[in-house]
Symmetry: D2
Subunit: 352 residues, 4 copies
C-alpha cells in the first residue's frame, strides 16, 4: 500500500482527492493537514465521506508527512514550494496541485502570481504532470507540478495538431492565431467565501472573465510551445463561467494551413490518442458534453471542420476536478509509484 499524505484538504481538489484515494485499492491515507480545521473529523466537513474515512485534519507537520510515500499539496500557490525541498530530502514524492511547479521560469511565476518563487532550484527538476505528453518523465519524477484545469483541456485538444511539427513533420495549422474559448463550472473558482461565486450571482447567468489576462495563459503557451518543438505560439484565451458545478468545455479554433487542407484530422487524433486510457476521440456526429465525463477521469474530444472550410474546431470536455486536477494527480501518482495507470480511476461518469 502506498502511504499518502495530503496538505490542505478542505478545498474542492482536496475533497475530490479524498473521494478518489479512499476508493483506491493501493492507497493508505495516512495524514491530512489543515491549519484551520485541525482536530476536526474530515467527515464532519465533508459528510459524503461519513463511514468511509476515519481521519481528522491535523496541524501541518513535516514529520508526519515525511513518513509518507507520496504527499499531495491541494493548497493555494506558495505553500508547496515552501515544503517541497524538505519532503524530497526525506525521500517523499511530491505532487503539487497548485501552481508552484507549473511554470518553468521563476520570473513568469512572479509576474502572474505576485510572489517570488522560494524554490527556483526545483523548477528544473519538476515535471509537468500531463501524462499524455510527459509520461516517461513522470514515471521517473520525484516532484510533479500538476497542470491547471484549463491547460489540461486546451493542451490535449491542440496536442495532436502541434505534435506533428514537434516531431519534424510539416506544420498543419497557423499557430500565430490560436483561439481557446473555454467554459468552466463554478467549482473551478474554489471553495472560497466570495460574493462573485454565490449561487445568486452565478446561477441562470453566463459571463466571460479574465479576458485581459489569466494565469493559465502563460502555462498553456509554455505547454503548446513544448509540444510543437518550441514554435512561436500566438494564443487568445478567453475563460467563461458556466452555471454548473463541475466541468470544462474548451472550444478550440485553429486555421488550417493551405498545405494541410487534405489532411485527415479525425484520423490524426484517433492515432495520437489510440493507446491513451483517459482520452476518448469521439466519432463524427457526436458533440462532447461535460456530463459525459462528470466524476470521471476521462477527457472526451471531437474534431470538426464546419462547412468543410479551413477553420478547425476542436471540442474538449473534462471534469475540472478529476482529469483537470485530482484525478490527473492520482494518475501521476500511479505512474510514479509503479501502479497500473488507471488504478482507482475507473469511475464511470455519473449521468444524468
Amino acid at each position: 500500500m502506498i502511504k499518502v499524505g495530503i496538505v490542505g484538504g478542505t478545498g474542492y481538489t482536496g475533497v475530490e482527492l479524498l473521494r478518489l484515494l479512499v476508493q483506491h485499492p493501493d492507497v493508505s491515507l495516512e495524514v491530512i493537514t489543515s491549519r484551520a480545521e485541525a482536530g476536526v473529523d474530515v467527515a464532519q466537513i465533508f459528510p459524503s465521506l461519513r463511514g468511509r474515512l476515519e481521519l481528522a485534519f491535523s496541524e501541518p507537520s513535516t514529520a508526519a508527512l515525511a513518513a509518507c510515500d507520496v504527499v499531495f499539496f491541494a493548497t493555494p500557490h506558495g505553500v508547496a514550494m515552501q515544503q517541497a525541498t524538505a519532503l524530497l530530502a526525506a525521500g517523499v514524492k511530491v505532487i503539487d496541485l497548485g501552481a508552484d511547479f507549473r511554470l518553468k521560469d521563476a520570473h513568469v511565476f512572479q509576474t502572474w502570481y505576485g510572489m517570488e518563487h522560494s524554490a527556483p532550484a526545483l523548477l528544473k527538476e519538476a515535471v509537468y504532470g500531463l501524462p499524455e505528453i510527459n509520461r516517461k518523465q513522470i514515471i521517473n519524477a520525484r516532484l510533479v507540478g500538476m497542470p491547471g484545469c484549463y491547460p489540461t483541456a486546451i493542451q490535449l485538444g491542440y496536442a495532436p495538431l502541434l505534435a506533428e511539427e514537434g516531431q519534424g513533420r510539416p506544420a498543419l495549422i497557423d499557430t500565430s492565431a490560436l483561439i481557446a474559448d473555454a467554459k468552466s463550472g463554478v467549482s473551478g473558482a474554489g471553495r472560497k467565501a466570495e460574493v462573485s461565486i454565490l449561487l445568486a450571482e452565478t446561477a441562470d447567468n453566463f459571463k466571460a472573465y479574465g479576458v485581459d489576462g489569466h494565469r493559465h495563459h502563460p502555462e498553456i503557451v509554455q505547454g503548446l510551445q513544448a509540444i510543437s518543438g518550441e514554435k512561436n505560439i500566438g494564443l487568445t484565451f478567453v475563460p467563461h463561467l458556466v452555471p454548473m458545478i463541475r466541468g470544462i468545455h474548451a472550444t478550440l479554433y485553429a486555421r488550417i494551413l493551405p498545405s494541410a487542407r487534405h489532411h485527415d484530422f479525425q484520423g490524426l487524433f484517433e492515432k495520437f490518442y489510440a493507446d491513451e486510457p483517459f482520452v476518448d476521440v469521439m466519432p463524427p456526429g457526436i458533440h462532447p458534453e461535460t456530463r459525459f465525463v462528470r466524476g470521471s477521469n476521462m477527457v472526451r474530444l471531437a474534431v470538426r471542420r464546419p462547412g468543410g472550410g479551413d477553420m478547425l474546431v476542436v471540442l474538449v470536455v473534462e471534469d475540472n476536478l478529476v482529469k483537470g486536477a485530482s484525478g490527473q494527480a492520482v494518475q501521476c501518482m500511479n505512474l510514479m509509484c509503479g501502479l497500473p495507470e488507471h488504478a482507482g480511476l475507473t469511475h464511470i461518469a455519473v449521468l444524468p
Copy 2:
C-alpha cells in the same frame, strides 16, 4: 459471474443500472433490450459508457433473457407483469424497477395505474425490495418489486418509529396524521419528451405537484402498515419538484404521543440502523443534504425535535436513481444471488 439482462434500458434507471453493473465485480452484462433502439450501441445513446460497454440494444427476446441469471425490468408499468411468469418458469430471478409488483392488491394497482394487472397470481409471491425491512424475504425471493423512489425515503424515515409498535412495544407517534413533505430532482420524472420537465420550465423554479393524489401514496401506506403491524395509517403526502437532477429529500412530521415524550429518538434510530450498510443516522447538528449521497447508494437521515416540543421531524436524503431505484435493485440482486450486499455499491458520493 452473475449473468444479467436488462429490459428497457433507455431511461434514467436503465442508464444508472448500466453504470452500476458495468463496474460491479461479479456481474456479466449479457443482454439489454429496447424495441425503439434495437441495433444501436448503448454507448451511442449514453456516451458516458464509451469504452466501458460493448453492447447494443436488442429486440426484446424471451430466449436471450431466459439465459440470464437475473433480469431487471427498467420499464414503465405494465411490461414486467407480461413477461415475469415465463422468465420465472425458466429459472430466472426477476427484479422489477417499475410498479407492477409493488402493491399487494391488484385492485389498488388498477385504480392507480389505470390497467388491469395481468399477473395477479404473482403478487403474493413478489417480495417488496426494501432490504432494511425485508432482507430475509429478498434473500429467498425469485421475484422482487422494487419500491418507488419516494416510498424508499419515506418508509426508511418512519420505520424506526413504527417498528416499535410493530414489534409489540408501546406506540411512539400519532399515526393518524403523518405528513411527508417530499422533494425530488427532475430525473424522477423520467427521460420522457414532456414540456413540463424541460429545463426552461423547471429551472429556477419550485412547485408542488400531485397534491390531490400520487401513485406512491398507496404504496407508502401499505409499507408503513406492514412495518407498524397493520396499524391504521393516516398519511398526507405532498411531492415537490426541485430544480436539480438527482436527489430526494423527505421531510417527515410525526406528533409524539404524550407517553413517549421522554423517549430517546436519536438513540432509537441509531440502534435500528446500527448494522445497515446503506443507512447513516447523522448526529445532532448536521442537516442531511442530497449532495451527501449524490451517485451513492446511501440514505442519510437526521431526527429533530424543534424547540423540544412534541413534533418530531425526520429529514431523509437519498439519490433517487441509486438507493431510490437502480442501486437498491442491485442491492437486492446481491442478496438474491448470495453476493456481499455491498458488492458494486461502494461508490462514494460525488461532492461537490
Copy 3:
C-alpha cells in the same frame, strides 16, 4: 414626487428596491448610502441599472436622509433602530426591511438576534408592514417594520383560516399543530461572502436548515396570534434551501376541526382575498409555481384537501425579494404616502 432615501443598498433587497423605485412613476431617488461603497456609482456595482440611475453611494448622513420623505433601511438588523428616532423626529417616514421593528417584544428580539434593542420605545408605534392584514395602520404609520420573507408567505397562507376565529366565528383548524414546510431560493440568504451559499455548494442540491430554531419562527407566531385573536399557536417551521435564485414556496398543513369538515375552504380564501391586488387565489387543479410570480409583487396560493380528508394543505408562492421584501416595502410606502397601492408594482412575472 416622493423623495426617497435608502440606507444600505448593496444587498439583494437594496438592488431590488432600486429596480422598483427607478421605475416607480411617483418617486425621486435622492440618496443611497453605503459606508463600504461610498463614492462608487450604483450602476458600477449593479450594471443592470446602467443608463437608468445616475447616483453614487454616499457616506451615511442623517442630514441627507432627513431631507427625504421616506427612508428605507435595507440593512442588517441593528442599524435601523439606531437611526429611526432621529429620522422620525425630522418628519421622515421610516420603512425598515430588516428585523428591528418586526417583533413587538424587545426581549424576544434580544433572544433571537443577540443584541439589546436600542429603541424599545418605538416598538409599540411601529406597524408590522403586511398590508393585507394591517392596511389601515400602515396608512397612518410613521414607522413600518417589514415582515420577513417566510413570514409573509406563511401568514398570508394561514390568515383566512385563522381570521375566522379572530373575528369571532367558529374555529376551523387545530392551531396547536400547524406545520409550515417552507422552501426558499438562495437569494434569501443575502449577498454575503459565505461558503455555504456558493453555487458549488448549493446547486444541484437540497437541504433543510435551521430546523432547531429560526429567527422567523417567533415573528410568524406573533403574526398568527394577532390574526387569530391571540389564540395559542403551535407551529413547526422547517425552512429549506432550493437551488434557485428567487422564490419562496410554503407548503402549509393544518388539521381541519371535525366541526369544520363541510366548510368551503376554496370559497373562504377567495372571499378573504377578493379585493386584494397582490394576492391571487388560484382555482382548483393548478399548483402554484414560484416562477408564476418571479420578479412580481404577487402572492399566488392554492388550497387543497388531499383525498378529501381532514388535512388542509395550502400552497403559497411569492418572490422573496419582491412581495417578501422590497416590493412589499414599496407597497407600504404607497399606502403611507397616499399613492395608489399598486403604483410602480405592476410588473408581470418573468416567465420562463
Copy 4:
C-alpha cells in the same frame, strides 16, 4: 391604441410578447390564436398572466387578424409566409418572429429550412428587423422579418467594425476568419417536448451543438455582408447550450489588420452606438453578464484586446427572448406605428 393580434402564442416568444404587450401603454391586445389551445384562457397556460389578461386562444382566423393594426407571428417557420400576403392586402402590418422573412434568397431558405418558400415575392419587400442597422426601412415597412436570437447579438457585436468599410473608410479587421463562439440559454430551443432539452439532460452540463451547420449561419453572413458593403465574410459560428433559462452571450473574435493596430476601438463602439437606446457599450474593466439584461431589451457589450495584441474580442449579451426576439419585435412595432421607440420596453433587468 394599436390593435394587435398574435398568431401562435403558446411558445416562449409568444408568452414574452404577451408579457411586454400587456404592459405596453399604447397597445390593445385583440386576438391570439392557437389551433391546439383554441378556447383555453391564455392565463391558464401561462398563470403569470392571471389577472392581467382576459383573453382566450382562438382558432386561427384571417378575419379577426385582419381587423388588427399589427399582427405578430410567433410561429415555427412556414406559417407566416402562408398568411402574410392576405394580411398585408388587408392593410395589416406584419411582424414575423419566425424565419420566413429573414433570408433574402428563397433558395437559401429552402436549403436550410427544408421547405419551398411560398411567398418569394414578399422577400424583397420584407425588411430585416434590426433597428440599429435598418431603422429607416423599418419605419416605413409593412412586413418585417425579425432576426434570430444569435444573429442579433452577433451582428450588433461586429457592426461597428464592419460599418467602417461599409461606409467607405479603411477596413479594420480581417473578415475572412471571423469566429463567433456563442452561448445560449435553453429557452432558445423553444417550448417543445424534446428529450434533449429536459432539465435532467441539460442542467449541470455544457455542450456545443450544430457545429457542422446552423440555420443562423447564412442569416448572420447575409447581415454582416450588408453592413460591410457586400464584403466577403468568412464566419465560423459555434453555438453552445448553457444550463440557464434565458440569455445569450456571444464571444466574437476578429483579427485586427496591421493598418488598424492603433485604432481606438472603444471609441469606435461608443460613437457607433451613442444614440441607441438599447445598446450599452460598457467601459473597460467590466465583463458583460447575461443577468445584466435578463428580462430587458438591452444589449450590453464590451470590446477587449487581450494582451494588447492583434486579436479583438467583443463580448455581447442579450436576453434571447427580449432583444433576441419579442422585445425587438415590439421595438419594430413602435417604429412602424410611430410610437416612441422605447414604449413598453423600459423594463430594468431582473438581478439577481
